[in-house]
């Protein structure tokens, strides 16, 4: 009897919470009038913001994956001095409030020698569109590396040893065996990276400035319009954000195709 009612209670909680979440998301779509949303979607500001969001988030994702793959592989496969320190420091931004991460980046690129040198060679990061990408990169990186690391951990080292014994170098083995076998995890990490980049707000606001029609990405649009009292515009940017993330997931799952039945051993 006790077991039964406990089971019922947990299932009830699961449904209750899911219902709350669902209603909250649905509200986003149904509270504003359709004409208001349509108007907002057609605005120049929204087009600009959406375009900038897609470009910066895609670029940031590409960079995150390019850097994340070697980092995740090194952490998964090699035992090197300082390995655990590297792991802990990489995880730090997850525990950081995004605003503080943005502040740290702002000080680093704005107030240090390194930032000065970068600026001198033309890489101006503070209060620029490049800054958006940098802020998105640092926001998404820790989450992405975790998934990439886990994906490589799933691939038994012995597959690599077999490939080596059959004549393939370390790099060839990585390209022909490890990478294809970690494919699912890499797809997942791409989705996470893109979603984190699209939604990055605090760090972007501090490092890139969040100025109207300049460094304005969708979360900034939402924030700016809420501040002005443009509720329709704010809600529309929220809806666009949700739709873009949803489409990204669909697209990636489509690309991933039938890869879900990968045998692990």
């Amino acid at each position: 009897m006790g077991r039964l009612s406990f089971k019922a209670l947990t299932i009830f909680m699961a449904f209750l919470f899911t219902l709350l979440l669902f209603i909250a998301i649905a509200t986003l779509f149904f509270v504003p009038s359709p004409s208001e949303i349509l108007e907002a979607l057609k605005s120049e500001e929204m087009a600009y913001s959406l375009r900038l969001s897609l470009i910066t988030a895609s670029t940031a994702t590409l960079l995150v994956i390019l850097v994340g793959i070697p980092v995740g592989y090194a952490l998964s496969r090699f035992d090197f001095p300082g390995r655990s320190a590297v792991k802990s420091i990489l995880d730090l931004p997850m525990a950081f409030p995004e605003l503080v991460l943005g502040l740290a980046l702002l000080l680093f690129f704005g107030k240090t020698y390194v930032g000065g040198v970068l600026s001198d060679i033309g890489l101006k990061i503070v209060f620029t569109k490049l800054g958006i990408i940098v802020a998105q990169f640092f926001t998404a990186f820790p989450y992405t590396v975790r998934i990439i690391y886990a994906a490589f951990e799933e691939v038994n080292l012995r597959y690599e040893l077999v490939a080596r014994s059959l004549g393939y170098s370390e790099f060839e083995t990585f390209m022909k065996v490890t990478l294809p076998m970690a494919k699912n995890g890499l797809f997942a990490s791409t989705i996470i990276s893109f979603a984190r980049s699209m939604g990055a707000f605090g760090a972007v606001l501090i490092l890139a400035g969040g100025s109207y029609m300049d460094t304005e990405i969708l979360p900034i649009t939402l924030y700016l319009n809420i501040s002005y009292g443009n509720i329709g515009m704010a809600i529309s940017s929220g809806i666009v954000l949700v739709i873009v993330s949803f489409l990204a997931i669909l697209l990636f799952e489509r690309l991933e195709g039938g890869g879900h039945n990968v045998v692990r051993g």
Binding site: N156, R158, Y159, L161, V162, A163, R164, S165, L166, G167, Y168, S169, E170, E172, V177, P180, M181, K183, N261, V262, V263, R264, G265
Partner: protein
Amino acid sequence: MLEVENLCIDLGDFHLRDISLSVEEGDYLTIIGPTGAGKSVLLEAIAGFYPLLSGRIFLDSRDVTHEPPERRGISIVYQDYMLFPHMTVFDNIAFGLRKKDLPKEEIKREVKYIARELRVDHILHRKPGTLSGGEQQRVALARALVIKPKILLMDEPFSALDDKTREKLRSLVREVIAEHGTTVIHVTHDFEDVFVLAKHVAVMREGRIIQFGTPEEVFSRPQCEFVADFTGTNLLRGKIVGERNNLTMVKVGSTILYTVDKAEGNVTLSLRPEEVILASEPSKCSAQNVVPVTVESMERRGYHVWLSLSSDDFSFRAVVTPNTVVLLGIKPRRRFYALFKASTLKVIK
């Protein structure tokens, strides 16, 4: 030919200490030993997967100690197959050949040839995930053999298979290895592999090789109690008391036993449990040693039943088939006669 000289490895959890080993071309070496003895580490060190602390490895007189695995020409087969799941059976087998820049037609021919030998030619288009364990291991063997390795390493290749499949694959391996003349090092915990396949056997314990020889030598003349115990060999202690009809008489307690070996003084004797025959009466037969025994306990292990026997002076173990147990009505506390030939009782020191 492989020569390992004073090899030492420290992997934290596993150590190899001062391993020296020589494997002739066409040899079949099995490595046995308890879990954690370092058997797999030794295999993988020979393949070149671990840095050595010290020691050298020679392959056909060439020093390969610092060669990476891909330049050694040593292939490996694992217990859990390790077939690349994203490739078909054909592509798995062809994997090593593709690295050799051979013409496509030749790769196809070689793959088909080895696939036919290992009876996987009907599943070349399939993905490994859809195959049975026995099929997967045959594909793994084909993949390892097709590159004509200087040495084939096998790490408990049959242990994930059921008894019937294991037996079939074992005889298939014996055929194919003989056909190719491949040099093999095979780690196993199944003595059947040693008896059916091996020309030599090495016993490992705590990172060292403690005995090396032919299966016959190692199993009937264990050099220490550990090897005797591990291989299930009975050890008896006695004293040589004379000679009769060209046989040496040994006194074990108050029992006189006969051996063909010549020795003097106090000796240790070994007796393989499968050499012991049980009889309900002390019949006249070619066995010189007839000892009245009591069955102390019995335990079924796979196809065999292990009996603990005790005579007035010593106890030892014997292996019989379940059939014999029924036929003779073997039960604990019952008395029988243990018979064994003088040639099976060996003086080991």
